[in-house]
């Protein structure tokens, strides 16, 4: 086979092929609605079948890590919001967790609860919207997405009243959270959390058994558990492939050992499983939310020993990771005793989950590639950093 990827600049090309016909090389993206951002896939096609696929990154690259190495620890906190801009609160948490490991800070009880509550709300809205975008990619023009957005709106309103921003929350700090819950917030949050299972039922009724959804997703883009582990796939993708690995259960970071919840697993590792695992995870998130909101204690939200200004952790290094909605989000920090991190590294789940994109797309049609990419769930702010 002589399918070669063309040098940059050429956007499509006819390539010779053994036997009859020709291969066609097409650049899918970077400006295409189905790529969920500025992302390009160079695909070599045999008719409509994918023969080769190479993702091309970097359109949104701004060297986040270099910028963070040039500023103080605290100053990169608002910058972490911009990584996976759909889930800024989990990004904050991952960074705060890594710094807390590096400096040995404790987090007060109430702050841990607030972190769990906001993170689970984040997961809920991320998964709901992902399911909406996925069906949108399949041609369900807007309706399921708008159902999800209606729900997301309620959650973003909660975030806004708590942090002052709907998406760029910049809420967590090393050793706690920036501010306490405003009055009436808990009641509103309880109301939203109590309505969630009903929304998931409604959403599922809308989509479950839908013939187009089944036909477009079942048996498409199968990923085996073995390959998923070796390729470092994390998050719902990994669990859809049948591997039981959820950092909330494995690492039990924060206070996740106090809540009762299950880890949904898939059987086939296909696109349908990836969609359905997310729906089930939303149900589990709703359970965690109800438990956390019922038992949140009173108290301070910041460790009194934590220092925000002039924060200089001792020389050393730490790797902290959490289960973000898209997978394992890790921060690796090296301190040389100065006010800036010597090395600041983000382990982006979106980028590493794309490792297997070629493997699961080979032999399928272009239309399937769109759906599979939708089910991987990437955010380009995090892929390119």
């Amino acid at each position: 086979m002589s399918a070669v990827l063309s040098p940059p600049g050429k956007h499509f090309e006819l390539l010779p092929k053994e036997g009859d016909g020709e291969f066609l090389e097409v650049a899918m993206g970077p400006h295409h609605p189905s790529t969920h951002g500025v992302f390009r896939m160079d695909v070599v096609l045999d008719g409509e079948r994918v023969v080769k696929l190479k993702p091309v990154f970097g359109y949104l690259h701004r060297n986040h890590e270099k910028i963070a190495e040039g500023t103080s620890y605290l100053a990169s906190m608002p910058y972490t919001d911009r990584l996976d801009y759909f889930c800024s609160l989990t990004n904050n948490w991952a960074y705060a967790l890594a710094v807390e490991k590096l400096a040995g800070l404790q987090v007060p009880e109430r702050a841990e609860y607030i972190r769990v509550i906001t993170a689970e709300f984040t997961r809920l809205q991320n998964h709901a919207c992902l399911a909406g975008f996925l069906t949108q990619d399949m041609g369900a023009s807007g309706t399921p997405l708008m159902y999800a957005f209606r729900e997301r709106e309620k959650i973003l309103d909660l975030f806004e009243s708590l942090t002052g921003a709907r998406m760029m929350c910049n809420y967590m700090r090393f050793g706690g959270c920036r501010c306490d819950l405003p009055s009436g917030w808990l009641e509103q949050a309880k109301k939203v959390a109590a309505e969630t299972p009903r929304f998931i039922d409604e959403f599922e009724n809308l989509l479950a058994g839908n013939e187009i959804l089944m036909a477009r997703t079942q048996g498409i883009g199968k990923l085996s558990g073995e390959l998923a582990i070796n390729a470092g796939i994390t998050g719902p993708l990994l669990r859809a492939a049948g591997v039981n690995y959820d950092l909330r259960k494995v690492d039990k970071y924060g206070i996740y050992d106090r809540f009762q919840f299950k880890v949904p697993l898939g059987d086939h590792g296909d696109t349908y499983d990836r969609y359905y695992v997310r729906v089930l995870e939303m149900r589990e998130s709703a359970k965690i939310l109800q438990q956390a909101l019922a038992t949140i204690p009173e108290g301070p939200v910041m460790d009194p020993k934590a220092k925000l200004r002039g924060f200089r952790p001792k020389a050393g290094e730490a790797y902290g990771r959490i289960e973000a909605p898209k997978g394992e989000l890790g921060f690796y920090l090296i301190s040389d005793g100065g006010p800036n991190p010597y090395r600041y590294r983000v382990r982006p789940p979106s980028l590493i989950n794309l490792t297997v994109l070629e493997d699961i797309c080979l032999g399928l049609t272009v239309a399937d590639v769109v759906v599979i990419l939708g089910s991987v769930d990437i955010v380009l702010g995090e892929v390119d950093r």
Binding site: K66, G232, Y245, V250, K314, R345, R347, L354, D384
Partner: protein, 211 residues
């Protein structure tokens, strides 16, 4: 899980000749790491992945670090006899640290649910001997991450299936994550048709108007 000491002693037993060193970590995280020489890195990685006790089947994070040449100042206390009386004097000892590039791998086990075991590899210097073996054949999750290290730090990974720039554009020369990298100030300059038009406008407005 075993401690890193135990892992190291088993490794030296299984792979005689491999040079290994435990790198201390003063931070409260207590995450120690194991420095392995480049020649044995793949063998060590295969051992760690295949060992039934460890089963480190998942490489979570791979990243580079730049250590330029630096003078390390350490304070030591010395006893000096001054005028017959013994005194303790602080002295600053300066040692030259040679520069190198480093790659760090964070390994976990999904089957056994433990970790991390941290591997480090170092290049000989920062200029010409920047080759290291690739661990992508062992853990495929390193594929994009090693490409990123190559792109931003300039470490060449021998045995990587597809070593190209990943974030920076083709034709970019430098390695932006290195500590001594200076961004050019005309970064985004590129000749556009506008320049020609602007030049024409300038000439047009500069000419003398005869009435």
């Amino acid at each position: 899980m075993e401690t890193l000491e135990q892992i190291k002693s088993r490794l030296t037993h299984a792979l005689p000749g491999a040079r290994m060193e435990i790198i201390p970590n003063d931070s409260p995280s207590g995450q120690l790491s194991l420095l392995v020489d480049g020649a044995h890195a793949v063998a060590v990685a295969k051992f760690l992945r295949g060992d039934l006790e460890l089963r480190l089947d998942y490489c979570s994070n791979a990243t580079g670090i730049d250590w330029p040449e630096a003078v390390i100042k350490t304070k030591i206390k010395k006893k000096v006899v001054v005028d017959g009386a013994e005194k303790e004097v602080e002295e600053i000892l300066e040692t030259l640290r040679s520069g190198c590039l480093e790659v760090v791998y964070h390994l976990y086990s999904m089957t056994k649910k433990h970790g991390p075991v941290i591997l480090r590899l170092r290049t000989e210097n920062r200029t010409d001997k920047t080759q290291l073996p690739s661990l992508t054949p062992v853990w495929r999750s390193c594929e994009f991450q090693e490409r990123e290290i190559f792109d931003l730090y300039g470490i060449g990974f021998a045995g990587h299936p597809d070593l190209r720039r990943i974030l920076m554009w083709y034709g970019f020369k430098d390695f932006p994550m290195r500590k001594d990298y200076v961004a050019p100030d005309d970064f985004e300059y590129e000749p556009t048709p506008h320049d020609e038009v602007l030049e024409k406008t300038r000439q047009h407005s500069a000419r003398e108007v005869k009435l």
